[in-house]
Amino acid sequence: MSDRPLAEANTTDRSSGENTASIGRTPPPGEMGSLPSGSIPLSVHDLTVAYHRKPVLWDVEFALPPGRLVGVIGPNGAGKSTLIKAVMDLLPTVSGRVLIYGEPYSKQRYRVGYVPQRESVDWDFPVNALDVVTMGLYSKIGWCRPVMKKHKQVALEALERVGIADLAYRQISQLSGGQQQRTFLARALVQNADLYLMDEPFAAVDASTEQAIVELLREMKQTGKTALVVHHDLQTVADYFDYVILLNMRVVAHGPTEEVFTRENLQKTYGGRLTLLDEATEAMRRRERAL
């Protein structure tokens, strides 16, 4: 119903999506101009997502250079988790095109590792840590086939990498928050993906887990992998990430951290929550109600 004006608004902005790297509200300086689209881990064009009548993401445009640790920063409700879910086709979108290494997600699924928010599942579920990690291999194992010893071995190695191999057979409700987060990370690791999407992996974890995750991210970067990480703690952004996307319903800015992570951009992202867009939507809804 009210999707119509949203969609219309988008068509006006729809520029040619041929050269993925040239698009972007703040085009990154030259580094991607020469890259073929197949080596760009993630490019998002024109992405608009709305829940019921409220837009959550509006005209999101960006492309990530390969081998970077990318922080997605923005206030609560800015659409950070929504962005990750929309990238993976988990949500209906109003408009937009997402390419992973030059192709749609459905074709590149195996190259993407996903770490959902820790709160998104019931940790009282009757499985142990190793079971959870093995879930990352299910699509590789195939339908109706049982989990074999070799798969468990791979899962154990992933648990080793995140430093909790000794807890492999512990029921997940008896893990601490940090250990649960590490379990989720290990599950994404077994996929051996090239692009990792992580939804607040640092939320409510202990200091040593935070350190372990950061080291893991840096290790990934060294092997040419890309990670898109939703992050909350502004203090550590410059430390952890070399590329940031500032998001508040739309992309306020994106680019290398030292250029984009500025006081001015943060002000734009966090200050004045009621943007012009909000007011327009509100006015539209009032008119609809009056009719």
């Binding site: 996903y114 959902p116 998104s120 009757p126 499985v127 959870v132 299910y138 194992i141 339908w143 599950r187």
Partner: protein
């Protein structure tokens, strides 16, 4: 999170309670409820629920499954219970339990309408296939309505469930009322769909039930890991390309199959019990999904078997009620004695922990008393042995150090004495034995390490440290202590027993000794 979990758990309990109450009421008021569907032809059987005590011969026949029919029926219903327990495990974890309840209630109008139609066409409507087909159709229609209401109106799912469940059941009762007015068919058997009556099953029905049960077992077995992922983490499952909607539909389809074939054995009011109670009971026994499904299947199977045997002994007893009551007893036993989260296990764990904490407090008090009043006991040549009797700690001093009642203190001392940690003189004075001294030394050391750690690394005011350390030290693992020791080695080069960072209050009355202890010798 925990609140949601507690809420879910109490909801579950409520469920089981309602199930039990429903069937208790059914047993008590059987005549009353049944008379709402009066039948002119079978008036006697419907209103008469008097149970006649069977003869020894009847007992023997039923219990040894001598009849071919009884045997087949017992096998069929047992398989049904097994399948329901297993399928129910997944629906419980997926949070779709109420959906199953609405589904089974929504089958009633379909049964009535199918019976009416076939009676009008062919004269005899009691064809099992037709009735089950009607049940499945209206059950699915009910589920469709729930999904429609939820998706189109933005009403919450529980509202949609309540509406559909009651409306369909009401419609069903109305349809049955009309059916009773029809002079042609013998509609008496329809009652067994509501309350369940395995005695009315013939071998062919039982074979159908067994086949359906096996089918459900096969589906959940083949798709075990996919269903596990779906129930645990839907979002991740979708991100891996698992067709979430298809799997959900499949799970619901399996529930439909179990429910439909289970109608005659358990009845549509109580069918939900066979889906939820065994699964809920199994959660008290294991932390492994595979075991949970097997235990649930076992509980479901046993309940159904007992129910069907009882039904063949007491043909007028609704087997659904028996099945639910047996399942409820097993649930109660699980709730009490389940090894993973049963009440008894949790209670004994708590008692053991409390005892351990009390014992540690006692030993620490004794040790600190000596630190303040008679540090020389640590230096004496006899340090490796027990504290001498003339240095034993008077009982009243201990009482003031720990704010325990005299009884509690006495209990703890007696317990510690039994373990060989302390000895008590006739006058009540308490001394540490050699083992007790070593243990106390270890505990105090651990406690102080933790306190120091908190002060140095966690920015806690020294005056607040004691209580935190008290609660946390009891769960310190050896590895953690080793880590603390290395951390603190920098601060405390002596690596002996660190001093207490706060004042030790030994006695509140006379000397209110507040001083820093400096023991030179340690662990």
């Amino acid at each position: 999170m925990t609140e949601v979990r507690t809420a879910a758990r109490s909801l579950l309990l409520l469920f089981c309670a309602i199930g039990a109450m429903q069937c208790a009421a059914q047993l008590a008021l059987g005549a009353d409820t049944a008379s709402s569907v009066p039948s002119p032809t079978e008036q006697r059987t419907l209103t008469d629920r008097t149970v006649t005590w069977p003869t020894a011969r009847q007992w023997q026949r039923a219990l040894l499954l001598e009849d071919y029919n009884t045997r087949v029926v017992a096998l069929g219903t047992t398989l049904l219970g097994v399948a329901a327990g297993r399928v129910g495990s997944f629906t419980l974890l997926r949070g779709r339990t109420l959906m199953g309840d609405a589904l089974s209630h929504a089958t009633l109008p379909g049964i009535g309408l199918a019976f009416m139609l076939v009676t009008l066409v062919s004269g005899n409507g009691k064809s099992m296939t037709v009735l089950l087909f009607g049940a499945a159709a209206s059950g699915l229609l009910g589920v469709g309505c729930i999904l429609g209401i939820r998706n189109l109106t933005r009403l919450k799912e529980d509202a949609a469930l309540g509406i559909v469940l009651s409306v369909f059941f009401g419609a069903g009762v109305a349809v049955l009322g009309v059916v009773q007015q029809m002079q042609t068919g013998h509609s008496a058997g329809l009652e067994s769909f509501i309350y369940g009556k395995t005695a009315s099953l013939i071998a062919r029905d039982a074979e159908l039930i067994a086949a359906a049960g096996l089918l459900c077992l096969a589906v959940t077995g083949l798709l075990f890991k996919e269903l596990k992922l779906l129930c645990f983490d839907e979002g991740y499952a979708a991100s891996r390309g698992l067709p979430v909607v298809v799997l959900d539909t499949l799970l619901m389809a399996v529930v439909v199959v179990v429910t439909i074939v289970g109608l005659q054995a358990v009845g549509l009011i109580l069918m939900i019990a066979l889906l939820v109670i065994p699964a809920a009971a199994a959660r008290f026994w294991t932390y492994e999904l595979r075991w949970m499904t097997m235990i649930a299947a076992g509980i479901g199977g046993v309940s159904s078997l007992v129910g069907s045997v009882a039904s063949s002994i007491f043909p007028r007893l609704p087997s659904g009620a028996v099945i639910v009551l047996v399942a409820t007893v097993l649930f109660g036993l699980s709730l009490l004695f389940g090894p993973t989260r049963g009440a008894v296990v949790r209670w004994s764990r708590r008692v053991r922990l409390n005892r351990k904490i009390d014992r540690q407090h006692l030993l620490r008090s004794l040790f600190e008393y000596h630190e303040v009043h008679s540090p020389e006991v640590f230096h004496s040549k006899e340090a490796a042995r027990s504290i001498p009797w003339d240095r034993a700690v008077p009982l009243e001093r201990l009482l003031t150090m720990r704010s325990w009642s005299l009884e509690r203190l006495g209990r703890q001392i007696a317990r510690a004495a039994r373990e060989g940690l302390v000895q008590q003189s006739d006058k009540g004075a308490v001394r540490l034995t050699a083992t007790g001294l070593a243990e106390a030394n270890r505990l105090v050391r651990q406690h102080r390490l933790w306190e120091l750690y908190l002060i140095n690394y966690a920015d806690i005011a020294p005056s607040k440290v004691d209580r935190d350390a008290d609660t946390i030290e009891h769960v310190l693992e050896p590895a953690m202590i080793a880590e603390l020791e290395t951390l603190l080695a920098r601060d405390d080069a002596k690596r002996g027993l660190p001093q207490s960072p706060h004042e030790i209050v030994v006695s509140s009355q006379d000397d209110a000794t507040v001083q820093h202890s400096t023991p030179e010798q340690g662990g």
